[in-house]
Symmetry: C2
Subunit: 159 residues, 2 copies
């Protein structure tokens, strides 16, 4: 194979790979801070998931996700956000600290068939571009698989 | 005074009193669960305010309240909701329980001049009618007065 042809082939492969990644990637959930708050929990030291999930967990959903959290069936386009904050406890009060990460689940059955129809991503701290999930969401899904009866979502709506 | 005249006078006085109460009363914040979530804190056993404020405290605001929480100045019509839930801690995770009360602050400088321009109310548990504040909000304001520089509000916006 001559050098030019090789370069052309390589460029084409990279383009395909890049397009494939873009097609599967999960967008940062712009504006989620004004979406509906579903619930909050706190994981303390000693919890099996403390690394990296120690902290205050807020869950937010867009309108499709809120509908899903009430029925246990999520339509394509539902987005759930898991906003993880550090916390400090002082004088018998626990208060929010810095953001650890923003976790995202996006429902799209066609794009994410191997992870229950959900795309998973994490964004480090306050970054909207530093991504944390590098296995196509398989490690996330390994835990969420237990929630098959609720469309792989742990979060349920409360009034 | 004859009996009929007495009854008429009494009825009129009750009507005036009832109107006065209605004019100052704080409405239940319909729909606040889909308002913007500002922050959360947890008060544990041993906190000076544990009775009656032990639990997970979620704070929500309508649009005017969110604007105010960013500037420290709240316009008339701002409504802040303090949603207090029980919590349980098990296996190093704290999760939400039943609702203890819904606290409300409504900004209206003309209606609530003696409490910093804020009307205060609490609704017991999931009730929208069982009211908890019976002193015109003076006991609430006694604590909020310390936050004069933030228009008597403890809650600040975080991104």
């Amino acid at each position: 194979m001559n050098h030019n042809l090789y370069n052309l082939l390589l460029s084409s492969l990279l383009l395909v790979a890049s397009s494939a990644q873009a097609a599967d990637s999960v967008d940062y959930p712009d504006g989620y801070r004004t979406w509906t708050h579903v619930k909050t929990m706190v994981l303390h030291e000693g919890h099996p998931l403390e690394n990296p999930f120690l902290g205050i967990h807020h869950f937010y959903g867009n309108e499709l996700a809120i509908s899903g959290s009430k029925t246990g069936q999520f339509n394509d386009g539902a987005v759930l956000v898991f906003d993880l904050l550090e916390y400090t406890t002082q004088d018998n009060a626990s208060t929010e600290g810095d953001r650890v990460l923003v976790g995202v689940m996006v429902k799209d059955n066609a794009r994410y068939p191997s992870t229950g129809g959900w795309g998973f991503e994490g964004f480090a701290g306050d970054s909207q571009s530093e991504r944390l999930v590098n296995d196509g969401g398989q490690s996330c899904f390994a835990c969420h698989a237990s929630q098959k009866d609720n469309d792989y979502v742990f979060t349920h709506w409360r009034d």
